[in-house]
Amino acid sequence: MSGFLIILLVAAIYVVLYQVSRSSELIASIQGEEKFDKKRNKILAWSMLVVFAAFMIGIVACHNYMMPLMAPEAASDYGVEYDSMFVVTLVITGIVFFVTQALLFWFAYKYQRKDDRKAFFFSHSNKLEMIWTTVPAVAMAVLVAIGLKNWFTVTSEAPKNKMQIEIVGKQFNWISRYPGKDGVLGKKKYTLINDKDNVLGQDWTDKTNLDDIVIPTGEIRLIKGKPVELIIGSRDVIHDVGLSHFRVKMDAVPGITTTIWFTPIITTAEMKQKTGNENFVYELSCDQMCGKGHYSMRAIVIVETQEEHDAWMAKQQSYYAQNHPEAVPAANPGAETTQPVVDSSKKITMK
């Protein structure tokens, strides 16, 4: 019932507005259309200046509000390049933006209808067309040049001293895998997957699998200053590894392996200090629509020093050992501390 009343009320508002608008048209016809139109045209011309001023003030206000909320400085070497390219693009497009918007609103105001004005019959000028074809072309050439340079950097072969980490998406969480002592990620086959003791479908006949470490929360631990190559895959639908602090992103596609590499340059601890935020944490977000839990597909990325990383690594037990305790000699250390505790993605209540 109340819903019905609300609809009635809204409808009534529209009717009132319409009647008021109609009466203003009536006033126009009483005052004389011509005179009324002229007056209105003048007011609307002025409104162009007002709208432009409000637009510019709004941009500044928005900028001031947003800047403290933005992500901190880039945390990878590529990110630094990225940010400087972003600024160059912003300056070029910014100039074009302000000049064209200013001209648009200024012309609109300046050339409002006047009785004594005759519009200037100006149908074409090849010279002008040449200028404003060439200038954008040059600007584009600059942007393409910078862009391709960075693009070929970020898509180049990862350097030899890289570390490799596999990250696999599934509905709705990430699973990460470290190559273990042999530095090799073992072979997988999707038909071998089972959620009980082989979440990635590792092929146990491949001996390089036996020391691989699997983290079911997808936590990624990177080393400051050491290039990392992410080997990306998916078990079910398309996901996307989004690492906004490092300014990179790559799809996780079932049936296809993709990679991306970068070098982290700021540790999590350092970033906590820089931002003054004790809770700061690098996050890995899923950036490709993957189903109803898409928004909760979160993993933590930790950037640490080599020593910290080694200490953590020493405590890990291989996935194979965890699931085949009978096959592993008792010498394996730290078997009781295998599971990382952090799993904030689980906190989100899912339907």
């Binding site: 819903g3 990225y82 862009g147 038909t191 928004y295």
Partner: protein
């Protein structure tokens, strides 16, 4: 041939009626409502392009309201993730038990919002409406080349609409994989509830829509090429017609590719094929499909998907050009450059699709090529902007409602176009991809800006469609709220995107990197709701003005040059009562006519000393 015959017969009767009525009632009361034609054949299964254009427009308006309302619902969730809204339960029922929207429904609404706004409103409602209305009227033809196919084109669209709408009411909900419906998510019913029956209905509906669009497009091309009146050479056509021509060419060449994508997806869903599927483990079992490529679908989808952007933009550009010139009382600046830039856009539109796929792991060389081609398309777009600015420069501007919307169109096109230079550059896209920066970019440039072109067109040609004006005051209110509101909604989203905030998230509150935007998201939601209600103002104005608007008394109320204004105010089927006028000059002779007027219509012969443009 039989169509032609019916048409001529009809015109004949009409002419007769008209002559008769002129005696009795004077000018604005034409006899066409007293036709022998039955209501059904006149207004429902009509073959008159003017009626068909209204059918497209009103269907488009229906979808715009539905799609807009969906955005209000999901903005409530985004702005107020902690709160509950009883109104959601009223509309969505069990999908929002207790007033809290279910994530499945959230994604369903996002998906259908995107689909219907892009295809049903800004393609069917925009190009369908104005190509139909203006092509015959502006080139001087009695109707389309095939009025029958034209009628079919609308009814396929109507069928597509019914199926899409019905998908909202089924048990498993509508398609919910985003408007791009990437497989495997959209291919496997295990992957999401919306990938069940809802996805089948989506595919069937889109297939029908594609048929509609092809029937329409072929008709537009043939009509423009073959049915121009005497003297209407290609370079005398208004830019609207050029725009509709390129729009139709784009559609005819790219929509079939989407159809193939949809058919292959249907096979993968029901026939056990593996076009898009490979090595998938889902719902506790490994699927047998191997060897397909999920990326193949994206290539097929975007081969239409990107030209689709220009299918939306070109009609808006054409109409804005026409309206800016008419209301500035100046010729469009650089007519040939405008046509050349449209050709440039049309050709390049086919060569940039993979810039939507920079982060799919594609070959870097291929990515590089697409960066180059994508940024190239900025050049013709820039040329168009400079030409519009020069068109109003030293004009004599009348701030009518259509003129304001055309100016707003240019402003939005600049703002949204420039951010394309960030996204088209793969090195920058690699961070911005699928964030709110993308949302801001495409909503401004092909959502709002195309809507502004459409609004400009509706306010400008409403007198031609209905013989009445829309209410000005309401039009002005509509313009200012929408223009300012759109920037308020979408401008801050650029910042969210730069901060990496991903699109298509149901809730950001558990993300350390994005939760600081909660207050902003709330503000955006409030602005979106206000702008939505301002659009209802337009809808109200539109429908009331059909019957109550101020009557048009001058057949050429805007003092424009093009041929549609030489028809009677309420033209019947066949458009002109007598002979079709002959054209003697281009569409933009806004200059001294020697008798104190500032325009010379296309059907006025050149004076002895006058040089043709």
């Amino acid at each position: 041939m039989s169509n032609e015959a019916t048409l001529h017969q009809e015109i004949h009767t009409h002419h007769h009626d008209h002559a008769h009525h002129d005696h009795d009632h004077g000018h604005d009361d034409h006899g066409h409502h007293e036709h022998k034609q039955h209501f059904i054949s006149k207004y429902v299964f009509s073959m008159d392009h003017k009626i068909i254009s209204r059918q497209f427009l009103i269907t488009g308006i229906f979808w715009a309201i539905a799609g807009g309302l969906m955005s209000v619902f999901f903005r409530l969730q985004l702005g107020f993730p902690e709160d509950t809204f009883p109104i959601l339960e009223k509309f969505l029922g069990d999908w929002a038990r207790g007033g809290k929207m279910d994530p499945e429904m959230y994604y369903g609404l996002v998906t259908i919002h995107g689909t219907v706004l892009v295809f049903f409103v800004l393609t069917g409602g925009l190009s369908g409406t104005f190509s139909n209305l203006l092509i015959p009227l502006q080139i001087g033809a009695r109707d389309m080349a095939s009025p029958f196919l034209n009628m079919l084109s609308y009814w396929f669209f109507a069928g597509a609409s019914v199926i899409m709408f019905s998908s909202l009411f089924i048990n498993t909900g509508p398609a919910s994989g985003g408007w791009t419906t990437y497989p495997p998510l959209s291919a496997l019913k295990e992957a999401s509830m919306g990938s069940g029956l809802g996805m089948d209905l989506w595919l069937v509906s889109m297939a029908l829509f594609i048929v509609s669009s092809l029937l329409g497009g072929l008709n537009y091309i043939v009509t423009i090429l073959n049915m121009r009146t005497k003297g209407m050479s290609m370079t005398r056509m208004p830019l609207t017609i050029w725009a509709f021509l390129f729009t139709a060419i784009l559609g005819v060449l790219s929509f079939p590719v989407l159809l193939s994508a949809a058919v292959l997806l249907l096979f993968d869903r029901h026939a056990g094929t593996s076009f898009y599927l490979s090595e998938i483990y889902i719902a506790g079992k490994a699927l047998p499909n191997v060897g397909g490529s999920a990326i193949l679908y994206q290539h097929l989808f975007w081969f239409l998907g990107h030209p689709e952007v220009y299918i939306i933009m070109l009609p808006a550009m054409g109409m804005a050009s026409e309206i800016l010139a008419t209301h500035s009382r100046k010729p469009i600046f650089g007519y040939m450059a405008m046509i050349l830039s449209m050709i440039g856009i049309t050709v390049l539109a086919f060569l940039v699709w993979a810039h939507h796929m920079f982060v799919t792991g594609m070959s870097p060389i291929l990515g590089g090529v697409f960066v180059l081609l994508t940024l190239l398309i900025a050049i013709p777009s820039a040329v168009k902007v400079f030409n519009w600015l020069t068109t109003i420069w030293k004009g004599n501007i009348r701030f009518t409602v259509p003129m304001l919307f055309a100016l707003g169109f240019v402003s939005l096109f600049i703002s949204g176009g420039l951010t394309g230079l960030f996204l088209g550059n793969s090195a920058l896209d690699i961070h911005l991809h699928d964030t709110y920066f993308v949302i801001a970019h495409f909503h401004i440039v092909m959502g709002i800006s195309a809507f502004f072109g459409m609004f400009a067109g509706i306010y400008h040609w409403f007198p031609k469609m209905y013989g009445r004006f829309m209410n000005n005051t309401m039009g002005y209110i509509h313009f200012f709220i929408t223009f300012i509101g759109s920037y308020v909604i979408f401008w801050p989203m650029h910042y969210e995107g730069v901060a990496g905030m991903p699109r298509r998230y149901y809730d950001y509150s558990s993300w350390e990197s994005f939760k600081q935007f909660a207050e902003l998201n709330q503000m955006i939601s409030v602005a979106a709701i206000i702008v939505f209600f301002a659009q209802l103002l337009f809808v109200f104005n539109y429908f009331v003005s059909i019957w109550k608007g101020k009557k048009v008394t001058d057949p050429n109320p805007w003092k424009a040059n093009t041929l549609e204004w030489t028809t009677p105010i309420n033209a019947g089927h066949g458009n002109w009562d007598g002979e079709i006028p002959e054209v003697h000059r281009w569409a933009y002779d806004y200059k001294d006519n020697g008798e104190g007027g500032d325009f010379i219509p296309q059907n006025v012969p050149l004076k002895d000393d006058e040089k043709a443009h």
